[in-house]
Amino acid sequence: MEDKNSISKVMTYRDSVYFYGNIWNLTITAILLFAPILCCIIYQVWPDWALLGAGLVATAPMYFAVGVVEVFTYIPMLGAGGTYLSFVTGNISNLKLPCALNALEQSGYEASSEEGDVVSTISIAVSSIVTTLIVALGVLLMSVTDLSTLLTNNPVLEPAFAQLIPALFGGLGVVFVSKNWKIAIAPIILMLVLFIAIPGLGGSVGIMVPVSAIFTIITARILYKKGLLG
């Protein structure tokens, strides 16, 4: 016990987040990789190597590149604890990050402060737990009832959930844009023009997030240097 106490005294909170985060994420990586292998053992089959190769070549390079860019884009916004959790549980841009942003906004802490890190960790952890529970409950109900038919081809639910992203980013965006309108004008105009002008860009919003973030940082830097951000 004494040992444990002395470790936690030496380690700052952030250091302990990195330490335990690394252990958790590497363990979960191993478990996730082991799962398909376990299925192979149980069913005594090997993957179809030709199909596996074709599937990996078509999928992995693009998502590896996206993954690398996402890690660098989202870490500053999610904070340390939130980052470890988000990259395990997923749905970052459409759920975890908006949730953390809203929590930061409501609590009034800066994202880069330790308090901000704590708040975003709490909100992302709660969001992950609630998501996991709802999805698990839904799966349980689907396996015993007709919930899946109720959820799909529903004349009310279908159009409502098809517009989740606009409904989410309308409310979330208006707060941040009105508070930071000086740095928001240029990226909003650029993104509107790009998405309206280029057909099919809607499928690439994940790639446009870092592009837009870098563009906003550059324009914000110019405005900051010129002393235009009061």
Partner: protein, 254 residues
């Protein structure tokens, strides 16, 4: 053992993995709550953060569940359950599965899960798992360095660091605002369905602005601030129903 994509054994194995993922969230939650007390943070605020985060999550989580139904037609329930409880998203899992299925002339939605063989199942499972792995372990390598960089920047120039992080948030929001307009151009061909997301976004933004004004004007409704985002989101989604009936839905892409 005879294979079925809905086999109880798969539910059990994947259930255990999802419990481990849940365990990580609980572990981080407890440590963050403990730290919030050490830092002397207002515990009322923390409680509010937890409640509003939970409420905000409900609608997006149900939307994940709807995506799960789409995948389960071809893959059964357990695999989509696992995949949508860990890193990835509906679009990613669909693309990964289709990249395997297309080689045998099938696709998600065309092949029924009862026709899926064990070999196809594990092949899809491997592709889904491996192709998105980079984020989970890359975070272990770079998280401390990137956060350290931000802290260093903060020590040098706090105001610029706050602007920098805000600029990233604004960048993300701008990209999604642009995304809302991605079908806008159909207006030039006389179709109106591209307006639905735009109007939904405006409805949600207006609701948020009204909530903000109400909180400023009337002290009695200060609780509204905590629920303003979920309320705006739900209003936007409700408005979407008559708007879609009126302006039309986008054509279904096969």
């Amino acid at each position: 053992m005879e294979f079925s994509a809905n086999s109880p054994i798969l539910f059990i194995i994947f259930g255990v993995i999802i419990l481990a993922v849940l365990g990580q969230s609980v572990f981080f939650l407890i440590r963050a709550l403990r730290r919030s007390k050490q830092l002397g943070m207002d515990q009322k605020k923390i409680k509010k953060t937890m409640i509003s985060s939970a409420i905000f999550t409900i609608a997006p989580a149900v939307s994940i569940l709807i995506g799960l139904v789409a995948l389960s037609y071809s893959l059964g329930l357990p695999l989509p359950w696992l995949r949508l409880s860990v890193i990835g998203s509906l679009s990613y899992e669909t693309i990964a599965a289709n990249n395997v299925l297309s080689a045998i002339g099938e696709a998600i939605g065309s092949l029924k899960f009862s026709e899926l063989t064990a070999q196809q199942f594990v092949t899809i499972f491997f592709v889904m798992t491996i192709s998105i792995m980079v984020g989970i372990w890359l975070v272990c390598i770079v998280c401390k360095k990137v956060q350290g960089g931000i802290l260093k920047m903060e020590n040098k120039d706090k105001k610029w660091t706050d602007t920098f992080v805000n600029a990233m948030f604004i960048g993300m929001i701008s990209a999604f605002w642009g995304f809302v307009f991605c079908d806008f151009r159909v207006i030039f061909t006389g179709q109106t369905y591209g307006l639905v997301p735009v109007l939904v976004m405006i409805a949600s933004a207006l609701t948020m602005a009204l909530c903000g004004l109400a909180v400023k004007k009337f002290k009695k409704v200060s609780w509204l601030a905590d629920y303003a985002l979920p309320i705006s989101m739900i209003v936007g989604m409700i408005v979407a129903v008559p708007l879609t009936m009126w302006l039309g839905a986008p054509p279904v892409v096969a």
